[in-house]
């Protein structure tokens, strides 16, 4: 006997489904787990500012609660990569251009800051601004010829640029001291006040991260942001709608590079020693992994991506030799079950708008 004329569903899940339907007055046939995530996302979308501030508060309190060099250096690392990943997300996630040269811009910013501070005695804010400006300039110079090509071809060009930048760093002995690197880079000093404790360094990168996040969020919630999203979705239609596609690509590529340069300037001051090995192709891949793992076109995704990919290996240290196996396993599982990354498959702004619109319609009906 066929008991129901629907597709065969096993009894347990049928029961769950029934319970869910009874509990919720809304006409919904979604699975309870899925509905739980939907309502969680809606909650997040509605209280985005408050939740972001709560996370910021945790980040501010972290050095007070865990005032040990080891924890703070993990924190700095996470935020450094979060900054890099958010800036890469601007071109790769939001605009759809895969770039493999982010480590090069990090390096250009770092070398600019290192050279200016060791040779000319410059410090904050000059080294940070110069690092960002120099990386932005190189972004512009790389973009001018290369942003006319697309997709994987462009990815190869950016890869080539990354290698060129590293080779220059390695061989221009008089400027970069080649493989010996530059040492003795002074710590960040704010108008004579030197940031020397780990907690102070931690707060410097926290401020940079917050500024970059605010800037990217402001860009994406504007006319420029809509143009960027339009370019990602359909370049031909974007151009037909009056958007100067090449001009926007160039501008956004350069801004993204400048943010990476800013992070590079911090890196130079933080490490007090830099050499070309820190800005290799592997570094670019790591930044791209954080962005993809966290989620394309998601700022929160980039931050959680950095938190997972950079803090997880430390948390797994007790597993000694097995930790990298676990780490790789997490990456594979993630890409199989959530190919859009942790937070890449939804848009909180849209979820909020949809929820509010639904509510206003229900109100007008009743």
């Amino acid at each position: 006997m066929v008991e129901n004329n629907q597709n065969p569903i096993d009894k347990a899940s049928q029961q769950n489904l029934d319970e869910a339907v009874i509990k919720a007055p809304i006409k919904s046939k979604e699975k309870p787990v899925k509905r739980f995530f939907t309502s969680l996302l809606e909650f997040w979308a509605k209280h985005q500012t408050a939740i972001s501030l709560a996370f910021l508060a945790i980040a501010i309190l972290f050095p007070i609660l865990f005032n040990q060099q080891y924890f703070l250096s993990i924190g700095v690392n996470v935020m450094l990569y979060a900054t890099l990943s958010v800036s890469l997300n601007l071109i790769t996630g939001f605009m759809g251009i895969t770039s493999l040269s982010h480590a090069a811009f990090l390096g250009i910013g770092a070398y600019t800051a290192a050279i200016l501070s060791t040779r000319l005695g410059a410090n904050f804010p000059i080294t940070f601004l110069a690092g960002a400006a120099m990386a932005g300039l190189f972004g512009l110079l790389l973009g001018l010829p290369s942003l006319r090509i697309k997709g994987r071809f462009l990815a190869i060009v950016t890869l080539g640029f990354g290698e060129i930048a590293r080779m220059v760093e390695l061989n221009w002995m008089s400027l970069t001291r080649g493989p010996q690197g530059i040492s003795g880079i002074p710590k960040v000093s704010l108008f004579g006040w030197i940031m020397k404790t780990p907690a102070q360094k931690y707060y410097v990168i926290l401020v940079i991260l917050v500024l970059v996040v605010l800037a990217v969020a402001a860009i994406m919630n504007s006319r420029v942001g809509r143009a960027i999203s339009a370019i990602r979705d359909d370049e031909v239609a974007a151009e037909a709608m009056g958007i100067n596609v090449f001009g926007y690509k160039l501008m956004v590529f350069s801004i993204s590079a400048a943010f990476a340069g800013l992070a590079g300037a911090f890196y130079a001051h933080y490490m007090s020693f830099i050499d070309p090995n820190a800005f290799s192709f592997a570094q670019s891949i790591l930044i791209l992994s954080v962005t993809i793992f966290g989620g394309m076109a998601s700022i929160a995704g980039s931050i959680f991506g950095a938190l997972t990919l950079l803090a997880l290996p430390e948390l797994l240290r007790f597993l000694i030799d097995y930790r990298l196996i676990i780490y790789g396993f997490v990456l594979v599982i993630m890409m199989v079950f959530q190919p859009n990354g942790l937070l890449g498959s939804f848009n909180l702004k849209h979820i909020k708008q949809q929820a509010m619109f639904r509510k206003s319609q229900e109100r007008s009906e009743s």
Partner: protein, 255 residues
């Protein structure tokens, strides 16, 4: 006397040895609905691309209000006041309906990245204008209730309408519609006919490529017929229907 606003002068488009558009001249007067018809591969869309700057014509010029717009970039043509839709729907699929239309307002607003970073007055005015303009266009096209849905979640006919809405948001004087009725059912087609008439009454000048003869014969003031890239006939719908060259191009020669 009709006011001539768009004028193509002997436009040709060659792709290597292939002549896709061959010495085509046409003109468009203010307030007209003009149709371009022809069998598949006649060069209709290529001609559209030549007008809108997607291609650079091999020969000939395009003038808009006395100004040579040949070889201008597509975004410049849109800024001047000529906006198009696409034969194969090209919506921004990860953006909502209203965001799609707000992209259309791009060329009519001016907030730059500095305005937006510091949330200056220009940014606020732009956002306000984009939102209001998009809502009014969506109300005109009857899509306002779906404004926060994703563009690709709309039914096919509505997606076509959204393409037109997005083009209208750019405040064009001339609207180029590339097969707006493709794939529509009977009811959607008659709605489309009424809608295009409404647009003409609102003051838009319309150049339309269409295969559906019901649409073309119903709404066009004049028709140009292309075949193998050449202009083979032009005139009023009644003249075109009885033109032997057109019948031959569509149905083949009698032996």
């Amino acid at each position: 006397m009709a006011e001539k606003i768009l004028w193509a002068n002997n436009v040709s488009q060659h792709f290597g040895g292939l002549v896709a558009v061959d010495q085509v001249s046409m003109e468009l007067n203010k307030g007209e609905i003009v149709g371009i018809i022809g069998p598949n591969g006649a060069g209709k869309t290529t001609f559209f691309n030549d007008i809108t700057g997607m291609y650079d014509p091999t020969e000939g010029q395009v003038f808009y209000r006395g100004k040579d717009i040949t070889g201008k970039k597509p975004y410049e043509v849109t800024e001047l006041g000529i906006t198009r839709t696409f034969q194969n729907i090209r919506l921004f699929d990860r953006m909502t309906v209203i965001e799609n239309v707000m992209v259309g307002v791009h060329s009519r607003t001016k907030a730059n990245i500095v305005d937006s970073l510091f949330r200056l007055k220009n940014h606020k005015e732009t956002e306000k204008k984009a939102h209001e303009k998009a809502l009014s266009v969506l109300e005109l096209t009857g899509l306002a209730d779906f404004r926060y849905n994703y563009a690709t979640s709309l039914p096919y006919g509505s997606q076509r309408k959204l393409e037109i809405a997005r083009a209208l948001a750019a405040e064009p004087e001339i609207l180029l519609l590339d097969e707006p009725g493709a794939g529509m059912n009977e009811m959607e087609t008659s709605q489309l006919i009424a809608f295009i008439r409404e647009l003409r009454d609102l003051g838009y000048t319309i150049l339309i490529i269409e295969h559906d003869m019901r649409v073309i014969m119903n709404i066009c003031d004049r028709i140009y017929v292309l075949d193998h890239g050449k202009l083979i006939a032009q005139g009023k719908p009644s003249e075109i229907q009885s033109n032997p060259d057109v019948i031959e191009a569509y149905l083949g020669k009698e032996h």
